[in-house]
Amino acid sequence: MSEPIIRMTGIEKAFGDVRALKGVSMEVRVGEFFSLLGPSGCGKTTLLRVIAGFEEPTDGNILIGGRPMDGVPANRRPTNMVFQNYAVFPHMTVAENVEYGLRVRIKDRNERQRQVDDALAMVGLEGFGARHSHELSGGQRQRVALARALVLKPTVLLLDEPLSALDKKLREQMQSELRHLQRAVGITFILVTHDQEEALTMSDRVAVMFEGDIAQLASPQDLYRRPVDRRVAGFIGVMNFIDVRVLGAVPGGVEVDVAGLGRVVVPAEQAPGGTEGPIVAGIRPEMLTVLFDDSDVAARVTEGEIDEVQYFGDMTYYDVKIDGIGKPVTLAMRNTAGRRVLQPGDRARIGWGPDSVLLLR
């Protein structure tokens, strides 16, 4: 494994009495697409601003590219940022915006011009150089901000919720463009987002943050399939939480009694946070199936009554009432050919198995 591009140890940041960051330590690898994911107020933006040099950490230290960053101001750091509101200079044209950081670095005018043109082409804004920011759409402003940062070839590009102001369709398009751009330029990207779907689809690794600390740092798959605790599990995707009683360790796993579902032996790797303390069972909607006829089989079967139906076209989400479970359980079915959609009030047989269950602290 190569040397990390960013190494942070024990980063603390306090604003008055509020501890925004509580001793964050993490490493970001060279060339990866890294996301900081969490609800608003979890400190993800503060952490990004600490990396950029806009906030001085109260304690702890950062190395970027092996160099300590103590006392290095934002304008001397090898990072560049794409701001949430893009911060495109209103008194300059698109080309002047992109040229902004080059002005001081490159004396040769033609060379500057060439790099500006290249950067604009890279983000698909050829021919927009003479426009002012008020003549641009939100998506175009975003591209200007991207070009302006990337033209300086930073070691790390920081993106502060860059997509949150765009409408859904444009956001999805920009997500895939950003991903492609990141692969093409090979620069390490750190993205701050509160949108778990965005983090999962775009990132190589995601750090989930709660209350000023990292709860879990993992690949999107591990995050979804092996969340370390119920906070992470609840934040990433949909998760049914069901009461459970731990009966004890058995060969190959842990025997538990899941409310409404019964006894089952859960493989040890499905309890990533261990089984000490209060434990809850987590089941993803797609880990439960409606058994439509006798030819559908499952390891374990239970009965329930359909409470609510949400039809999404490709998928149908059912809320199912199962005896012994207080809250209706959410279950997702793909609408494959010939499969009918159940109605509220219908009885259904629900299939599940030991693989469906996660044990969470």
């Binding site: 950029a52 934002a74 990072t79 940022m81 509101n85 911060a87 902004y100 002012h132 300086l152």
Partner: protein
């Protein structure tokens, strides 16, 4: 269609009715006297008798006689100096309030700036006389400290004193538009400039100042227009060399018994101020043009 047209015209009528008192006031007390002054400037006066044949003679005198030219140029020079000093004094204060005073305390600071207005302008001028006079505060202190042997005479009753007194009086008016322009600057733009490699000085010159320019130009206009016509200040602290065009206009209307020439001088000054103001407004428009404001 007709119903809509009827409604629009009724709304227009209501609107006219609402503005009519103000409009009448403005017509009677601003436009009419101004028209009278314009008319007067084309007449002639012989002692107390006004001759009503139209003539350009007053304007010829106003624009060619060396004394009026000199006074006009001096007024422009003093106004320009006052404008420059006022803006230079006001900018750091506006900057400090906008960028360094906590949001909660900004209203208090803006309120403090109005304190000088609690006393009459005349009293403030007399205070400057006390400060700058032959036996005044400045001279007294300097002599007392042994830094000078005789009181300085170049600090009162000349143009410097006029510029100093006017600049001090107008700073609060200049602070406000500059402050508003600075407040409107999105702080993330400043962070972006820093992020792109600028230190504080370069960032100020490339982002803060250009974006504050509309406020600076507005402040300049607010100070420049009234000071060129000021006659109280030059009269009280200006001495013989500090007199400005307004003092001459007053003289013509009163002691010299030549109201038409006074009117021509007043209109000429107005035309010059208007021309300069238009240039300022045009500059401001150009600054705003770049951002759809």
């Amino acid at each position: 269609m007709t119903a809509l047209a009827g409604r629009v015209s009724r709304e227009a009528r209501n609107g006219l009715l609402l503005v009519s008192p103000t409009l009448t006031y403005a017509l009677l007390l601003l436009a009419a006297p101004l028209a009278l002054v314009v008319l007067l400037s084309f007449w002639t006066q012989d002692f107390l008798e006004i001759h009503r044949d139209l003539t350009f003679e007053n304007y010829r005198v106003a624009w060619t006689e060396p004394i009026y030219r000199a006074l006009m140029l001096r007024s422009l020079k003093i106004s320009a100096l006052v404008t420059v000093f006022t803006v230079i004094l006001a900018f750091p204060i506006a900057y400090f309030i906008s960028f360094h005073v906590p949001t909660k305390r900004k209203p208090l600071w803006l309120f403090l700036i109005t304190i000088p207005f609690w006393t009459s302008y005349l009293i403030r001028i007399f205070l400057w006389k006390v400060i700058l006079g032959f036996n005044g505060v400045v001279n007294g202190s300097l002599v007392g400290l042994g830094l000078i042997d005789e009181p300085l005479s170049f600090i009162l009753y000349n143009q410097n004193a006029v510029v100093l007194t006017l600049s001090h009086a107008w700073v609060p008016f200049a602070i406000l538009p500059i402050y508003v322009a600075l407040e409107r600057i999105d702080r993330s733009l400043l962070e972006a400039a820093e992020d792109l490699g600028d230190g504080p000085v370069r960032r100020f010159l490339r982002v803060t100042l250009p974006l504050a320019m509309p406020g600076v130009l507005a402040a300049a206009l607010i100070v420049f227009i009234p000071t060129i016509g000021d006659y109280v200040t030059p009269r009280l602290v200006g001495g013989p060399n500090g007199l400005m065009i307004a003092n001459m206009i007053e003289l013509q209307f009163k002691k010299a018994n030549n109201a038409p020439l006074g009117a021509a001088l007043a209109i000429s000054a107005m035309v010059i101020v208007s021309a300069i103001s238009i240039v300022f407004l045009w500059l401001n428009r150009r600054y705003l043009a770049g951002r759809g404001g």
